[in-house]
């Protein structure tokens, strides 16, 4: 791995690109060398800021020629160290490529550059009553290119599915510097294998996404936001069973434990809407079909003892306050401690069995440790955060979790789950990929990587080693 960029490469960049194209300023290297994970120390050699697809293409051709490893970089809000540059790589930031074209109102699509910030896309489309329904806590920083490269999930998956469902066309620059236009703005295109899908979720290991045509959908109707207090995870699942059959169109069914709430209160100084503390909380967002029916259903939750307390936002401001409790969790865990994150998914039908066995694993592997559990339970997705105990060295903590993870992943495999629901693999989870992918699949992934990137310059070492 090149720690120092070849002289000839630097000369070629200086000759062929604008003066502000590349930076090697230490503060910037620190900043652009990492994502939201804090396991690896950032150590890129330089950061490049292209403004056009042509610049990306010419840069990659040079990188390929001089064997310079490249880490593509968006909003750097990833949680699997997919955008971490810890081994002298060149970081390729797409942030200057944030142009958005006018919304195409006949086809409900919009063409944007990879660096467009998710929330900016939302604002851009909302004027026309449309939205790109990819939505998560980091929407103010995350970028479209990164969302697509990681097939991001988020808080509205239960209604809208993953990022993959909302991408019509991609412009991708290959390791050799070729520009591919994949699928354009076509809804239907049955002309052989869909290469666009190859790049969605590839975490920048197969090509660099520079532009995308996004599929849009009408903004949802009036959403009611509820927060329920329930005693435990089993009760969260019982309530979910009811919510599935309720006269409501669910757009979010999220849960978090009291441990998460305590960290949120510590870090963000937010308050709980309830007087009495509870073991678990459920945040539900839904569109009611019939007010009287919904009311009857809500009333029955209390009568049947399915919830111990509950509130419903009385204004958009209150809805935002309730959502903040859920959306601040990730940030608050990292700000108040060191979490070891697992992001697993299970078939929804197996969640109950998995959760009851998971407690046994925690008891055995992490006796007395703080475990902050939250997630998109409606999608079968659990975020399991093992918090570093006070006073334990970081290295010891990481070694301990590394030893304990296989037990957890074995349980995930047993119940037909995935070891990474939406965070991706990056560097953090690659040792465990085999828990979710068969040897034949892994070999196929390697064959693809070798075919598309023979010099292994695109985000090398992420997902798997060739």
């Amino acid at each position: 791995m090149a720690d120092v960029l070849p002289e000839a490469f630097l000369r070629a960049v200086a000759d062929g690109f604008p003066a502000d194209f590349l930076t090697r300023e230490p503060g910037e290297l620190q900043e652009y060398g990492r994502d939201w994970t804090r396991v690896h120390s950032p150590a890129p050699s330089a950061v490049a800021f292209p403004r056009t697809t042509d610049e990306v293409a010419r840069l990659l051709a040079l990188c390929n020629q001089y064997r310079v490893p490249v880490v593509p970089s968006g909003g750097r809000t990833g949680l699997a160290a997919g955008a971490v540059a810890a081994r002298g790589e060149l970081v390729l930031s797409l942030q200057r490529m944030n142009r958005m074209e006018p919304v195409e109102l006949l086809g409900n699509t919009v063409r944007v550059q990879a660096g467009a910030v998710t929330e900016a896309v939302h604002h851009h489309c909302a004027e026309h009553g449309l939205t790109w329904p990819v939505d998560f806590a980091s929407k103010g920083s995350s970028q479209v290119g990164g969302n697509i490269a990681t097939n991001a999930g988020g808080v509205k998956v239960i209604r809208y599915g993953l990022t993959r469902q909302w991408v019509l066309g991609l412009q991708v620059v290959t390791a050799q510097g070729q520009v591919l236009e994949l699928n354009g703005a076509l809804e239907k295109n049955n002309t052989g294998a869909d290469l666009r899908q190859l790049f969605i979720g590839s975490e920048g290991t197969l090509g660099i996404i520079t532009e995308a045509t996004l599929k849009l959908t009408p903004l949802p109707g009036k959403q009611d936001v509820f927060l329920f207090a329930v005693p435990d995870v089993a009760a969260v699942l019982r309530l979910f069973r009811e919510a599935r059959r309720a006269p409501l169109l669910l757009s979010a069914y999220e849960f978090f434990t009291d441990k998460c709430l305590a960290r949120v209160q510590r870090h963000r100084k937010l308050r709980s809407p309830f007087e009495a503390p509870s073991g678990c909380y459920v945040l539900m967002e839904a569109e009611g079909k019939d007010a009287a029916e919904v009311e009857g259903w809500l009333g029955s939750l209390f009568e049947r003892g399915l919830v111990t307390d509950g509130t419903m936002a009385q204004s958009p401001s209150q809805a935002i306050e309730l959502w903040a409790l859920r959306e601040s969790i990730s940030e608050s865990l990292s700000a108040t401690g060191l979490p070891h994150k697992n992001d697993v998914s299970l078939p929804v039908a197996n969640l109950e069995a998995f959760c009851s066995e998971m407690d046994a694993v925690f008891g055995e592997r992490y006796p007395g440790w703080e475990i902050a559990l939250f997630g998109h339970i409606g999608d079968g997705n659990l975020h399991i955060n093992i918090m570093k105990p006070e006073g334990m060295e970081k290295a010891e903590f990481l070694a301990h979790t590394k030893k304990a993870d296989p037990t957890m992943f074995e349980l995930v495999r047993k119940h037909g789950g995935s070891i990474s629901a939406e965070h991706g693999i990056g560097l953090l989870k690659k040792d465990y990929l085999a828990f979710s992918r068969s040897p034949a699949e892994l070999e196929m992934l390697r064959t693809l990587k070798r075919a598309l990137d023979p010099n292994n310059i695109l985000n090398p070492g992420k997902i798997l080693d060739v």
Binding site: G299, T311, S315, Q318
Partner: protein
């Protein structure tokens, strides 16, 4: 003890608020609404007083039938019943105070609590007019020292305290150079400042119960109040847009700009 609290319907600050091109008002389309946050604080304070001294909180709002949403919100928080003065069309602060005066004379509360101002027009006048019209004492800007109700704050004496005989109220209020404590004979008018309390969330059972709580409908005619505005809004305009910030290369340039351009040092 009976406490009358106002619940004005105002634009939710989460909505995008735009002035109409002709300056005749703001664009209503797509706007969302909520209870005026200062009034919400008033409802909370009323509920706390009633929890301690017994009695009821009666909530009042003026406007078209949509203000029932804000009345229901206050009822869901725990108010006992509501009064709705059905009126659409322009209304100035004296019109509002005149209507509230009649409602107060009808309801005969021990205390009227209002937000010190509404976040739409930020007038800060109705509480004062109302006290004058009623001939009652007034204590404006009731407040506590710290915001966010920290543990210490909860243990402190509340800003509104009833006298032992329930015939007076002591009010801590925020003034320019600190805190002033007033004592008013009841009935009185109190207006709330931001740091008085943190209003509770309405519980789901409360929200459902609120749907069957009574809302009495009144009109300016029924109250015999002439609400013809004496104050007329001639034109609304957005403040000039802020200029974009600039980056300065070093401290010397910054100091120079502060001294010679901004003239602040």
């Amino acid at each position: 003890m009976k406490i009358l609290v106002t619940a004005k319907r105002v634009e939710d600050p989460e909505s995008k608020i735009k002035v109409k091109p002709d300056g005749s008002g703001i664009v209503q389309e797509g706007l969302k609404y909520k209870i005026n946050p200062f009034d919400e604080i008033g409802v909370e304070e009323g509920l706390r007083l009633v929890a301690k001294h017994g009695g009821e909180v009666v909530v009042v709002s003026i406007g078209g039938k949509e203000v029932q949403e804000q009345l229901r919100h206050a009822l869901a928080m725990g108010a006992t019943r509501a009064v709705w003065v059905n009126h659409t069309g322009p209304l100035d602060q004296m019109g509002v105070a005149g209507l509230l005066q009649k409602v107060a004379e009808k309801e005969k509360p021990d205390l009227v609590i209002l937000g010190k101002q509404a976040i739409d027009d930020d007038q800060n006048q109705v509480g004062q007019y109302l006290a004058e019209f009623l001939g009652w004492g007034q204590a404006t800007f009731a407040s506590k020292v710290e915001s966010l109700e920290s543990e210490q704050e909860k243990n402190k004496v509340p800003a509104l305290q009833m006298g032992a005989d329930n015939k007076s109220v002591r009010v801590v209020r925020e003034v320019d150079n600190g805190l002033a404590t007033l004592e008013c004979a009841l009935p009185a008018v109190v207006t709330t400042d931001l740091r008085l309390n943190l209003p509770r969330y309405a519980s789901l059972p409360g929200i459902m119960k609120a749907k069957s709580k009574p809302i009495e409908e009144l009109t300016p005619a029924k109250l015999s109040v002439d609400v013809t505005p004496k104050v007329q809004v001639l034109k609304m305009a957005s403040p000039p847009p802020r200029k974009a910030g600039i980056k300065v290369p070093d401290v010397a340039t910054l100091v120079d700009k502060l001294r010679n351009e901004a003239k602040v040092v």
